[in-house]
């Protein structure tokens, strides 16, 4: 035991020591995030305000908001608007993204809820079913895109075969190639792949609901459907909302599935896809940067709105 020297009481206290250690523990992680997140984001926003090209990354000049919107008056007196915000391709991508996100998350929530309710019941082989639903989740997105692309193949695909045999369709459908069905194809694959994730998150919420609540309801003779809407749903609402928000943010930035399943289809092109296309493939680096900045802004607004709405909702519930 080292006998402390008198007067050393001015040294760092336990709390100070721990806070200092915490700083050094956090510093490398924060530095790494600064390098891979904050700095590139700032640069992306900067690029969006220049006319940088892929071949000449450092030759860009400041052009203000021209990538977003600019107005030019031609010598004929006609006013021409340019920029992403008047680009129909961009608005098509925005619409595609929003449509995709809302529909996929909607279906995933409902189906996820059903699967979670099934898994929450006790029956023989439950572990097996849970293992089975983990499989779509474990398969890489690209691989599942390819698997489904094969199943959705217009000539040799099994899905067309099944539907024909069942008499649900009259002729083979070119699922991924046709503009009418491309989005449906993407939705099917995404819902297949992500419903398990949703189900597991909801299941975790369900398992936190005490069992005796159900027993009390059963003793009182309340109909199970009523119990679900009046008891279960309100209790798992927080978990459900977190799961929905996670999935929503994920859906809004979707890239890989669409890039592989329906390449170059304007019916499914999302914001991420079109940004990258401009940035890398079309050598409109700054223009693509502007579009990705917009996507970032949209997601940021969405997150803030969610947080804000969440607060309002909380207040409402408190007053009930």
């Amino acid at each position: 035991m080292t006998d402390p020297i008198a007067g050393r009481s001015g040294g760092p206290s336990l709390r100070q020591r721990r806070q200092r250690a915490a700083f050094w523990f956090l510093a490398p992680m924060l530095f790494a995030l600064l390098c891979v997140a904050a700095w590139p984001l700032a640069r992306t926003i900067w690029f969006s305000l220049t006319n940088t090209t892929l071949s000449n990354l450092y030759g860009g000049e400041w052009i203000g908001f021209d990538n977003y919107l600019s107005m030019r008056t031609l010598s004929s007196g006609r006013v021409v608007w340019r920029g992403t915000l008047v680009d129909p391709a961009w608005w098509n991508a925005v619409w595609n993204t929003v449509r995709f996100s809302l529909i996929s998350v909607g279906f995933e929530t409902v189906l996820g809820l059903i699967v979670a309710l099934v898994l929450n019941a006790e029956f023989k082989g439950r572990a097996l079913v849970r293992a089975a639903i983990l499989i779509p989740w474990a398969i890489p997105t690209i691989v599942s895109a390819k698997m489904w692309a094969w199943m959705l193949n217009d000539q040799f695909g099994i899905l067309n075969d099944i539907l024909l045999r069942l008499g649900l369709i009259g002729e083979k459908i070119a699922w991924t190639a046709s503009t009418e069905t491309a989005m449906t194809a993407v939705l099917i694959v995404d819902i297949w792949k992500t419903t398990p994730f949703m189900a597991l998150l909801i299941l975790a919420g369900l398992q936190m609901v005490p069992r005796d609540i159900y027993e009390a309801a059963r003793i009182d003779g309340i109909h199970p459907v009523k119990v679900f809407f009046r008891v279960t749903l309100p209790l798992i609402k927080p978990a459900l909302m977190v799961a929905v928000i996670f999935r929503m943010l994920d859906a809004l930035r979707i890239f890989d599935l669409i890039y592989v399943l329906t390449p170059n289809s304007s019916a499914t092109k999302t914001m991420s896809v079109i940004s990258r296309e401009n940035m890398i493939d079309f050598d409109k680096f700054a223009y693509g940067a502007a579009q990705s900045t917009l996507l970032f802004a949209i997601i940021a607004v969405f997150v803030s709105a969610y947080i804000w709405l969440g607060r309002v909702d909380l207040g409402g519930e408190g007053s009930k």
């Binding site: 721990r18 915490a22 700083f23 523990f25 956090l26 992680m29 924060l30 790494a32 995030l33 390098c35 891979v36 997140a37 700095w39 590139p40 984001l41 640069r43 990354l57 699967v115 099934v118 019941a121 029956f123 082989g125 079913v129 849970r130 293992a131 089975a132 983990l134 499989i135 779509p136 474990a138 398969i139 890489p140 997105t141 690209i142 691989v143 895109a145 390819k146 698997m147 094969w150 199943m151 040799f156 695909g157 099994i158 075969d161 297949w192 994730f197 299941l203 975790a204 919420g205 799961a243 890039y259 592989v260 991420s272 940004s275 940035m279 890398i280 693509g288 990705s292 900045t293 996507l295």
Partner: protein, 277 residues
């Protein structure tokens, strides 16, 4: 009444069956296809029609595909290692030390993990070029950190919070510094959590597509998803479905095995990353 019950039961198991079939069938069908080649490929077979290994030979005989597997393994492993190393100390600080702005910092880290990756693509592209690591493993290792690190920190923080306070205090009384507490006391207790987190981060890195697509330029540097995603023939009719399915099965089977082995832990990790937030 019993009849009603029976119907209910049948309905329930029918639902279970639908769920299982819907989950498993695409993978099953990929396996079936991967063992078919030649004309057998272009007949719709619901049951395995043969055991033809030609597709596998084609895939495993291709040097570039083997390179891709190697690339993916190296990149995912190093990314996970780096994230765990940076994440463990950081999550100790976030879970165990009280300081001002801790809540804000946690929210920021969570926010970063929700970043649309496309938003940093332009900036990362410049950074990758500037560092001279374009078309190398490091480009991916660096860029994957953006999603593996926040995830790792977040999940480890929730696990770390659940460790008993008294054990840490006993260590403090024993004269352990924060570093000693992490390395000699908490780390041995956190192994299960580390395995879970690492596995999930590994799957994330293994499956990543956007960065790998953008930051590689040669076939030998591609990761598995890019290699499979870009496997194509000259035209729609020439898409080599057989080899694609074989490649898909090859890269998916290990993941499925891992996921099934660590089933419970993965569910715990996923929910720690999601619900508890």
């Amino acid at each position: 009444m019993t009849r009603h019950k029976l119907l209910k039961r049948i309905g329930f198991y029918a639902l279970v069956a639908v769920i299982v079939v819907f989950s498993v069938f695409p993978f099953y069908y990929a396996v079936v296809t991967s063992f078919a080649s030649g004309t057998a490929l272009f007949r719709v077979n619901y049951l395995p029609s043969g055991f033809d290994l030609r597709n596998y030979q084609a895939v495993l005989g291709s040097k570039n595909f083997l390179y891709s597997i190697g690339n993916s393994l190296i990149i995912a492993t190093l990314t996970v290692g780096l994230s765990l190393f940076l994440g463990v100390t950081a999550s100790y600080a976030l879970a165990r030390v009280r300081f001002r702005g801790r809540g804000l910092l946690l929210m920021t880290i969570l926010a970063v993990s929700m970043f649309p990756q496309i938003a940093v693509l332009a900036g990362l592209f410049e950074l990758v070029r500037f560092l001279g690591i374009f078309n190398t493993h490091w480009a991916m290792i660096l860029s994957y950190t953006i999603f593996t690190l926040p995830f790792t920190v977040w999940v480890l923080t929730t696990f770390m919070r659940d460790l008993p306070v008294e054990i840490e205090e006993a260590a403090i009384v024993d004269g352990a510094s924060p570093w000693i507490i992490i390395t000699r006391v908490f780390l041995p207790l956190l192994w299960p959590a580390m395995v879970t987190t690492g596995l999930l981060a590994f799957i994330g890195a293994w499956n990543e597509f956007l960065f790998a697509l953008t930051f590689t330029s040669t076939e030998s540097m591609r990761t598995v998803p890019v290699a499979i995603g870009l496997l194509s023939g000259a035209s729609e009719q020439e898409i080599p479905w057989g080899p694609i399915m074989a490649a898909s099965v090859i890269v998916t089977v290990p993941l499925i095995v891992l996921v099934l082995i660590f089933q419970r832990k993965i569910v715990a990790g996923l929910t720690a990353g999601g619900v508890k937030g």
